[in-house]
Amino acid sequence: MSAAPRSTRPNLLPRYVVLFVLFALYLTAVNLLIAFGSLPTWAEWPTITLTGFAGLFVLWRMLMDSADTGTWAKVVLWVIGGNLLGGAVATIESISTGAWVFGSPAQTVCGVIIVSIWTFVVLLALIRSVLKMPWAPLSVARAVIDEAVSQRVVVGLFGLILLLIPILPFVLSDDQPLRYRVQQFLGYSMGATTFLLSLFTVAFACWSLSSEIRDKQVFTTMVKPIGRAQYLIGKWLGLVLLNGVLLMVAGVGIAGFTVFYLAELPAQDNYDALTVREEVLAARIKTEPKPAQSFEEIVGVRLSELRRNQPQTLIDLGRSQAPEAAATMNEQMLLELGAEQAAQQLFEQTAKQWRSLGPRGTPNHAQVYVFEGLERAAEYGDVVYLRYKIKGATGNKTQVGIEVNGRRLAAIDAVMNIVLRYPIDARMVDSQGKLNIMLYNLNPAKSITFPVEDGLAVLHTVGGFGPNFLRAMLITWITLAFLAAVGLAFATFLGFAVALLGGFLFMFGIYISGFVLSSLSKLDMSKVAGVDDAIGFVFKLVGYAFTYPLSKFSSYAPVSNIVDGIYVGWSQVLNCLGWVGLVWTGVTGLIAWLIFRSRELARVQV
């Protein structure tokens, strides 16, 4: 009964050696062909790409068969292999064109694709090897990744991302300013990646759990020493790590194309180039203006004037407010009622007036706008930008005078209804981080108005594109982690199809909750014909109940922030991590666990 294990594992090392030798031969051949100019120029980059793929294939095979070699041998082979590949491709590139990997557009495509694939393979290998640790949830997480890889889901998604990203820059039209092209590329590619990964996360979370319960693999797993909470955590962790890999690949692709290709293209003019550099590929903080004197103060002064000089007007106003109840009220009560109404009207009027400049010569032709919190503006850039938009007949032009902290500057040119920027020397920010900007109307005939939403703002740079992009990606990752928990939670008690439906509805609910909420707040049910007040109230209440808890989700807008070059701070990332990553995901996970714990995993089989 000797059970001495004979060596049952075939040694695949010779196979790798053969593959490497073949690869090296191929590489030398390509090198020689290019060096002697035997290869036509048009064939160079496809050949180089093919080389990259061939090398990656060798490494991929090694990864797949990695159980044969020891962990350290694997690491060493990977490092050597990776350097060989990277070095070889770079060498061929420099020999063939004398340029670095990111030279011509074609080479950029090759370079970014190779780097993306490389990132994908290495990250996946790294994660799979870390998850080999003997801890039950990690084991489950690894099974999730293996399942995704074996089902070609991840590879398919990876291919799709890899296909979308390099194509986009080339379909964007050449005749528009570069800044728009960069913005469009960032918007589309990040939006598409987020959307695809959201769909994938929800769908695969639902599939991974519900199919395992349906096909009963869960029987074999759950009779092992793993608690149901651990099992769910393992599933979730697998999904989060998968998303991390895919997001990383997409990020490398998007950032690579933006920085190495798009940003290097010729801009239409200097202004265009400056905009790309300082406004799109930057991280800026947007500061909204405040009035020099608060509206409450202004209203208070005006109101006490009214009380003193025109009490009868206030009493009349009070009476007109409540014509029926007025008979039972004394003058004092009517005065207070009128004052309340007048304060509200005065407030609205003051706010409106503050955003308008009367025609030149009138008393209201100038207003002061205070921008605070600009202490660090000078650290990162020479200029801060006043962003402005003036309401009016489209196409009309006007001029606005400007004084910053008491110093008069060159007048601002404005085209109606178009968002424009005016650079201000960052050194003009005072020691308290304040900019007092006085604007005055130079047009004697017409008054001008800055709309509330995007009328006036000061933007100042606080960082570069790279770190900002990384933080935006982190926020996306956290939200995807939440979606993974949602998908799993649905699958704890529903079959795949219904869970998927629920998950998708939830996902879309999240994405449109901000919009629904703002619509609800503007919706006046009393104006909807045939709707009773009570019904209207219930309608709004239900709407709020559903959308309010989710609306926080839309307050993190990493894509639009990156497109507009708006700073995504660590505080925002931490806030997102706290709310979405811990509170929401935690609560969702808790619900999922409570359901899963009390669920009988087996079915009627009698």
Binding site: M1, A3, P5, P134, A143, D146, V604
Partner: protein, 397 residues
């Protein structure tokens, strides 16, 4: 081996499982006030036709279903206790494994669930793959395996943690007779090592061959319980087997019976070989001729870590082992025997002795009768020499 000090490995009291429909109306009573006691170190058979509640009972024991009424204790704990799962191995009635993993990855996955170190996993996986005869196909995804091969890998995963309690739900379905015989041998080996085995089956031969005690279920209720011997001995008749006799001898015997007992011979037949034995012979022959197969091979010896107990003395010789085994009669529990010390197969023990041990062990619960506690295989229906040859081809060579 049953020591009264040990709590039952599995105990159910008034276990009832009623499946309800969507409106919570009772629909099927799968298990009905079932009382079971599986003692430590015994092989317990759960027998019954399809749909008699065997699998449901097992799933309740494993915590995959919750009882409607009644109590269940597994190794002294509730089935939902995660910690006891470390000591349980389970082979489900069908292969519920990941189709995308290969055999090695599958065993690695389950090994990691048990928190086994990399080194230990590698060691056990190598041995288990060899034991179930899948070492040659260990790189193929399980989705490509035949049903029998999936059973084999299923068995291997049930053993990866060297369980104290092994629960086998219809283990021999889908297996070829060699695999069937191998599973039976394995069960006996594990029993020898002091493991507890709960076996559910509707294949009577399987149960008869290996089980110490048997419960027969029908409609979720217990119909009969006892040792195989108690249940199967037909006390009203006697069977005499000799080498072939002539007509005249038979007549003389009949006359003798007539004069002594006043009874007549009911029938005289040439004994038929069992199909199982015939089949095993044929395969054995093919293997000897070196015929090739792309399916599962007949497998190797029982994995070492399952066989040899750490606290077993290495120098225990064959004879000592036999006497230890044969003295373990249920009617006379040896007071000195520690509950966990199980007779196992130390390395270096004479192969022939071990082969015999494997086959005699199910008989240890039987009354000794007149037969001496010999090393002679007590099973007349299977040519154990052939099986031994088949299962460990190198043993007898």
């Amino acid at each position: 081996m049953i020591t009264p000090a040990d709590p039952p490995a599995i105990e159910t009291r008034g276990l009832t499982k009623v499946f309800k429909d969507f409106w919570m109306r009772p629909r099927v009573t799968a298990v009905d006030t079932l009382d079971l006691q599986v003692q430590p170190h015994e092989v317990f058979g759960l027998l019954g036709p399809n749909g008699s509640g065997k699998s449901t009972t097992i799933k309740i024991i494993l915590g995959l279903l919750f009882p409607t009424k009644g109590r269940v204790a597994v190794l002294g704990k509730l089935p939902t206790d995660v910690a006891i799962k470390k000591r349980i191995g389970y082979l489900p009635e069908e292969s519920y494994l990941y189709r995308f993993l290969n055999a090695r990855e599958t065993l690695d996955y389950y090994g990691r669930l048990f928190g086994l170190s990399h080194h230990e996993r590698t060691r056990r996986i190598d041995m288990l793959l060899q034991m179930v005869g899948l070492d040659a196909v260990q790189r193929r995804p399980i989705g490509e395996y035949s049903k029998g091969m999936q059973r084999r890998i299923g068995l291997a995963q049930a053993l990866i943690n060297d369980p104290d309690l092994l629960i086998l739900d219809e283990p021999t379905t889908g297996l070829d007779p060699i695999g069937t015989r191998q599973i039976k041998d394995l069960i006996l080996e594990l029993k020898d090592r002091g493991k507890t085995v709960l076996l559910s089956s509707h294949l009577l031969a399987d149960v008869e061959d290996v089980c110490d005690r048997v419960t027969i279920l029908y409609g979720g209720r217990k119909r009969a319980e006892g040792t195989c011997n108690e249940l199967l001995t037909v006390s009203e008749s006697s069977l005499i087997e000799t080498d072939s006799l002539s007509e005249s001898t038979i007549n003389k015997i009949e006359q003798l019976i007539q004069s002594e007992e006043g009874k007549a011979i009911r029938s005289v037949q040439a004994p038929r070989q069992k199909l199982e034995a015939l089949f095993l012979n044929i395969v054995h022959q093919a293997q000897n001729e070196g015929a090739r197969t792309s399916g599962a091979t007949s497998g190797g010896d029982v994995a070492d870590f399952l066989v040899r107990d750490a606290h077993m003395p290495e120098n225990l010789d064959g004879q000592a082992l036999i006497s230890q085994l044969t003295s373990n009669e249920p009617t006379q529990p040896a007071p000195t025997t520690q509950p966990n010390v199980a007779p196992a197969q130390p390395q270096g023990v004479d192969d022939a002795v071990l082969d015999q041990l494997t086959n005699t062990s199910p008989q240890t619960d039987q009354p000794a009768d007149d037969a001496p506690p010999s090393t002679k295989p007590a099973k007349p229906d299977v040519d154990s020499g052939v099986i031994d040859d088949l299962l460990g081809g190198d043993r007898k060579s």
